[in-house]
Symmetry: C2
Subunit: 363 residues, 2 copies
């Protein structure tokens, strides 16, 4: 029986994690639940799963207490934004199994997180479908024989939208993703490929891959979740229906795989046609900006991530346009004075600085 | 330094094996060469690679002597037809590393071969691109978590040919495979999907998979070489340009992967479109006949394989038509009185019987 602490239980990943837990009552015990504000749903969840520890808003044990509690074997970090970082580090330092759905913690503090993970011999299990795919493709393979990582991107709702039309995109249109059902922030990030840029940074840290070796390729069907090319030229890919419960479950069941009749099954014969296209960085500058921030390192990715949270809020509340998000990110990064080898405090300061600048941004 | 014995060095797989050996003079030493009749080419090969042991026709050490020689670490069985079986068994019994390009030995005597391999703790390394793909997908995974194997088939030159037109197919047309350059026998077998049927039997034995769990899917591009679906619904696929040197090399380099600039490289961005179609068993009855023979077991697959060798010869020499191959196979199998749990001798007797009946076959 694996005892799980679920941080961010009322979000999209949190709710799907509980669906997986519900399917395996003899293998998974939900020992702790934590959520930010959706008290009504959290109460329902607590009633069903009867966790020993419950945190909501400011009440109950802190996220760090939950992430380090002796009754917890595995911490699923499914909070959004930078709130996942501190409990993630606590879990690592306490040698918990860690499943990571929160990409921001690797984007803003990947170096620190991976150093702690190495120091404490903790393997971080990715939950993002792309990173889960890469992780699966790497099973039984050697890290030093990885030649390239092929990160697939659905291309989002505006894959074929012209530059002129992108300027007129509304929040409702941006929130209508063709293949994945996700939270609002990540859905907008997927529409302008900012999400893919953050995933490149995430892959860089998770798999120790140089940025040059991480390639983004558009794959509208979201069936091939990512690929790895090895030194002999052989490529492995992982495929499945676009359903987050599969990578969530794998992060919990690893190194085993569990049959789950509740998951949609993909048939070989129904694969039909898998299409791949190059990515157009002119129409999707957020991807370029994000990868450049990742490559520059230091406090740049933290600034990128924080400014993007503000930018997406401004876009969703109608204060800036869709293509202004990239402009805002570009301008905030331009103004930033990086701190190399930043401490956690310096990262959080850069984050706060970026939010302030982003809030005051105007075209 | 791995010291290799190459049985069947003048055939298509043999020549490509030597191309791989040529690329890695510090890792691979060709210790033995054996060929059936192409003396001129064998002499050239011997001059270049200076093997300690050379067998041609009836001259030199026997194939069994080569396969069991103390100077040999790995035996590549690339002979065609049933000639590979005896040296394969000798190599296994002497605990050599074995790379198997000869599918007939598993088709006709899979049970015996795998029993010997288990008894001597020898892992048979597949060389067929499909089986290499499956083997690669299985790395780091558990055999009891395999849900299904998806064996891809290019569909051959007659993928879209009508039943009426199939009756008129000439040897020249059948020898013109759209994606793979191979020997004549296997090219004809690929054109009527007999080869895929034999590969199903081969996969059954190599990976211990029940026939129900092995699915054939048409994939005209020959980029996805095969797939494995696991118990949680996750699918892994192996991709690469259709070039036998990659699976050959992997069978030699395993568990390592070696960079080889001489191999064509597949780019993620150039994948473009991967198409999959269901297989039409009405137009390709050989696939059904082969799988049924595999399922029936005993001496049926040996009869199938032997009768097919004769049938392809008859077709190539213009004595029977393309669609007569399936009729011949059907008739010979119908007449066969199976011997269950056959010994090697009984298998070879069934083989001889089938050749005789096949030779005398008429519509």
């Amino acid at each position: 029986m694996k005892r799980i602490a679920l941080l961010g239980s009322t979000g999209s990943i949190g709710r799907q994690t509980l669906e997986v837990a519900r399917a395996f009552p003899e293998r998974l015990r939900v020992e702790a639940l934590a959520a930010g504000s959706n008290t009504a749903l959290l109460e329902k969840q607590a009633e069903e799963f009867q966790p020993g520890l419950v945190h909501v808003g400011e009440k109950g044990p802190s996220l760090e207490e939950i992430a380090t509690h002796p009754d917890v074997d595995l911490v699923m970090v499914a909070t959004s934004g930078k709130a996942g970082l501190i409990p993630l580090l606590s879990a690592i330092r306490n040698r918990k199994l860690v499943a990571l759905a929160n990409k921001e913690s690797l984007v803003i503090a990947g170096k620190l997180v991976m150093e702690e993970a190495r120091a404490h011999n903790v393997e971080i299990r990715p939950v993002d479908s792309e990173h889960s795919a890469i992780w699966q493709c790497l099973q039984g393979e050697k890290e030093n024989e990885v030649e390239e990582i092929g990160l697939t991107a659905s291309g989002g709702p505006f894959k074929d939208t012209s530059q002129e039309e992108l300027a007129k995109v509304t929040p409702v249109e941006a929130l209508n993703h063709p293949t994945w059902k996700m939270g609002r922030k990540v859905t907008v990030d997927s529409a302008n490929l900012m999400n893919k840029g953050m995933e490149v940074i995430e892959a860089h840290w998770l798999f120790g891959a140089p940025f040059d070796k991480i390639k983004v390729v558009i794959h509208p069907g979201s069936i091939v979740h990512s690929m790895v090319k090895f030194s002999d030229g052989s490529i492995k890919a992982q495929l499945g229906e676009p359903d987050m419960r599969l990578p969530i479950q794998y992060s919990l069941s690893y190194p085993e795989r569990w049959e789950n009749a509740g998951l949609p099954q993909l048939d070989f014969a129904s694969l039909s046609s898998l299409v791949f296209d190059p990515v157009d960085l002119d129409r999707f500058p957020c991807l370029r900006i994000a990868v450049e921030a990742g490559r520059a390192g230091s406090t740049y990715p933290a600034v990128l991530s924080a400014a993007d949270e503000v930018a997406v809020d401004l876009f969703l509340s109608g204060k800036i346009g869709f293509i202004d998000i990239a402009r805002l990110l570009h301008d905030v990064i331009e103004q930033h004075h990086q701190i190399s080898e930043p401490t956690l405090e310096e990262i959080l300061e850069a984050d706060a600085w970026a939010r302030e600048i982003a809030q005051g941004w105007s075209k």
